[in-house]
Each structure stands twice: as C-alpha cells, then as structure tokens.
C-alpha cells in the first residue's frame, strides 16, 4: 500500500515540476471546444443542442492524449522494470498510476469544463449533471486508457494504436454521460444513466488492474 502511495506522490510531483504537460492538455480542451463553436456558428440554439456532446468528446480526446505517455515514459527510462519488480502487487501500482493520471489530467478538465460549457451555451439546468457525469465518467476513461497505454508500450506509432484500442471502450461512457445531461435538460430523471455510468466505472475498476498489469509484464520481458 505504501508503495502505491509513494507512486502517486511521485507522479504528482513529476506533474507539478513539469506543469506544461497538464496545461497543454487543458489548452487542447479549450481550443478544440472553441473550434466546434466556430464551426457550428454563433446561433445559441444550435450550440446548446450539441454542447454536452462536444464537452464530453473533447474531454475524452484530451484524456486520450495524456494517456500516450502513461507507461511509455516509464518504459523509456527503465523505471518500468523497477515497477514490475517491486514486491508490491503490480495491479495496485497500476491503480496508483491511474489515480495520479486522473488527478493531474481529468480533474483540471472537470474544473475548466463549466467555462467551456458556458461558451457552448449549455442550458443552465444542465451544469450540475454535466459535472456529475464528468466526475463519474472520467475515472473510467483513465482506467480503460491504462489498458490501452499498457498494451501499446513499445509499439511504433503507439499513440495511434492506443486510440484504436481505447476509443471503442469509451463509447458506452460517452453515451450514458450525454444521455444523463440531456435527460436533466429535458426535465427527466438522469438517475438511470448516472447509475449505468457508475456501474461502468466499477467494471473498469475490476478489469483494468489485471489487464494492464498482464500487458506490462509482457512488455518488460
């Protein structure tokens, strides 16, 4: 347990010492959402219709970009061997990496998302649910992303491979999240969708440690 905690602290420290990485992801999030606003036009109704979907798709892509280096950076400098050889269970260390990734990428995105939503004219009654779906859904993005990141360690064009592995797994998260916000805006209960989102998160939490740890052991042969 101490080993996992030490890994979280180390990754947070690394992120704080190179804030440019987190800031680049945030800038991508804001700029890509702005592009949609320009592309669709200034008409508030048109933007409001698609605001939830845009926030979620752009957040999902921003998360994907940050995952590219999750394990590859460890493999490049040899740290991966030390992680695999630690007496602590590699499954636990994988979860520690996911937690640190979520704290340094997804959490800043969630904090900035109301500003982006305002720009996209999201109806006022949708904000609280949007934030809730992001809080419930982004852990799944980090967890499933970790499987893809572990599988693409050492692969050429790892980033493209990562997107191919991970994006299909993100589809259910996107569907449930957007459906919850849409239901809230339409005056219906978002609860069924939120429960499905949370359930999917539990599913991600159960399979990720084992799948990613197995992939990392394979990568460090």
């Amino acid at each position: 347990m101490n080993a996992a905690l030490a890994l979280v602290v180390r990754d947070l420290r690394l992120a704080l010492r190179t804030p440019a990485e987190t800031l680049t992801i945030l800038a991508f999030f804001v700029i890509a959402a702005t592009l949609f606003a320009f592309g669709i036009g200034p008409e508030p109704q048109a933007l409001a219709r698609v605001a939830t979907g845009i926030v979620w798709v752009v957040a999902l892509l921003a998360c994907l970009i940050s995952l590219d280096r999750l394990f590859q950076s460890e493999a490049d400098d040899g740290s991966l061997d030390q992680l695999v050889l630690a007496p602590a269970s590699l499954e636990l260390l994988v979860l520690a990496k996911c937690l640190a990734q979520w704290l340094t990428t997804a959490l800043p995105l969630i904090v900035v998302s109301p500003i982006v939503a305002t720009m996209l004219q999201l109806p006022a009654q949708g904000y609280a649910t949007l934030l809730l779906t992001l809080l419930l859904g982004t852990p799944s993005l980090s967890l499933f992303g970790a499987i893809g990141a572990a599988l693409s360690v050492g692969a050429r064009k790892g980033g493209a491979l990562l997107a191919l592995i991970v994006l299909p797994l993100y589809i259910p998260v996107l569907i449930f999240a957007v459906a919850a916000v849409e239901a809230q805006i339409a005056g219906l209960s978002p609860r069924p969708h939120l429960f499905l989102l949370a359930g999917f998160g539990v599913f991600a939490l159960t399979i990720t440690p084992f799948a990613a740890a197995a992939a990392l052991r394979q990568a460090s042969e």
């Binding site: 101490n2 420290r13 400098d77 040899g78 061997d81 030390q82 695999v84 050889l85 602590a88 042969e221």
Partner: protein
C-alpha cells in the same frame, strides 16, 4: 546458512528464446551466499537476457531456477522482494532529485528510507542529494542508479553492466559495496567487462561459439 547445500541461486539447463532465436541453452549456474558470479560473453551472447531470466522478468524457455532450493516460479512475489536489479538503463526522472529517487525506490520496495543518506554517501553523491537528475553527468547518473542497491537492501543483486560510464574511484566504490554485500552473505550476479570485483569471483561465459 553456508552449510545448507541448496542455499543461494541455482539454475539448471536454462534456455532462453527471444524472437524465435535461441539466445542460450543448457546453461547451468550456481551462486551460493557470498558469491559473485561474473557473466561474460560477446555482445548479444545473452548476458542481459540471463539477468532478466534470473530477475523473473523473462520466463526461461526450459530449465529450472531455484533460490534456497525452491523454484522461484512458486512464489514470484518473494523472489521480487529478495532481488535488486540494476538494468543498463538508469531509471531516473529528469525533474526528481537524487534523494527523491532513492526515497521513492525504498518505499516502492517496502524499505524504510533510513538508508538513503548512507547510500548516497557510499557512491559519493551526498553533495548532489538535492540536485535534479537532469543536471547530472552520465557517470553520476550511473552512481545514482547503483545507490538503489544500498537504499533498499536485498540479498540478491543482479547488475547489468554496472560500471558503464563510471570513473576509477566510482568503480572502487562499487567494488567496496559488492565486497560488503558478499561479506554479509549476499549474492551478486553481474554482467561486466571490468575486473572490478578482484579475486574469488566465479565466471560464467556465455555464447562460447
């Protein structure tokens, strides 16, 4: 412990295949407590592969590998806990200081971190404890990697070209650390071209072809 005939590391008829090519086969090795086993062989003879097999990172294609008479595959976690592996890479993050690296390594291995200062001192790095790794020279980076051996003690040291980039005083520092480790009953397996270890080392030559 020395009287135990099965104590230490013992490999029988080990074989390793990588990418469909047989790297080595029918390899026997033995290292009892206090032993230094030096791996020799041309580039590509399989020294690094053998070290990865001994670390349990790579499963041997054939043969058995025991520690104190028990197959290491029986309890991989126990084997991981008893070994320290210094690969040819230094595993340093540019923005972390040396002290942070060693404290993290100790925590990762379940050690307390009380040995960190002594580990830095043993490799002449005490003055660089608060220096981020990106400002270090090649030799200093290598010494920082080797300081891990002392920051989190383990009975079995697996060293892949530990003297790469080291100057003569640093090679001496490593030789002293290895001698102390052996005197305390530790086992060292090292792939190296240098005679840093002095006498009384066993030698295993790979790929004699």
């Amino acid at each position: 412990m020395d009287s135990n005939p099965t104590a230490g590391l013992k490999g029988r008829a080990l074989a390793c295949r990588r990418g469909g090519r047989t790297v080595f086969q029918a390899l026997d090795l033995r290292a009892t407590p206090g032993d230094l086993l030096v791996l020799r062989g041309a580039n590509g003879a399989g020294k690094s592969s053998l070290l990865r097999v001994l670390a349990g990172l790579l499963a041997p294609a054939a043969g058995t590998l025991d520690w104190d008479g028990e197959a290491i595959g029986e309890d991989p976690a126990a084997h991981r806990a008893r070994l320290a592996f210094i690969a040819h890479t230094d595993a340093l993050k540019p923005t972390l200081t040396l002290a942070e690296h060693l404290h993290f390594h100790a925590a990762l291995r379940g050690a307390s971190g009380t040995n960190v200062a002594a580990a830095l001192d043993a490799f002449g790095l005490a003055a660089l404890a608060d220096t981020p790794a990106r400002f270090l020279s090649q030799g200093q980076r290598r010494r920082a990697a080797l300081a891990r051996l002392l920051a989190a003690p383990a009975p079995l040291w697996l060293l892949d070209e530990p003297t790469n980039g080291l100057d003569a005083p640093s090679v001496d520092a490593l030789a002293r650390a290895v001698a102390r480790h052996r005197a305390a009953g530790g086992v060292v397996v090292a792939a190296t071209h240098l005679e840093f270890a002095g006498a009384s080392a066993r030698t295993l030559t790979l790929g004699a072809a």
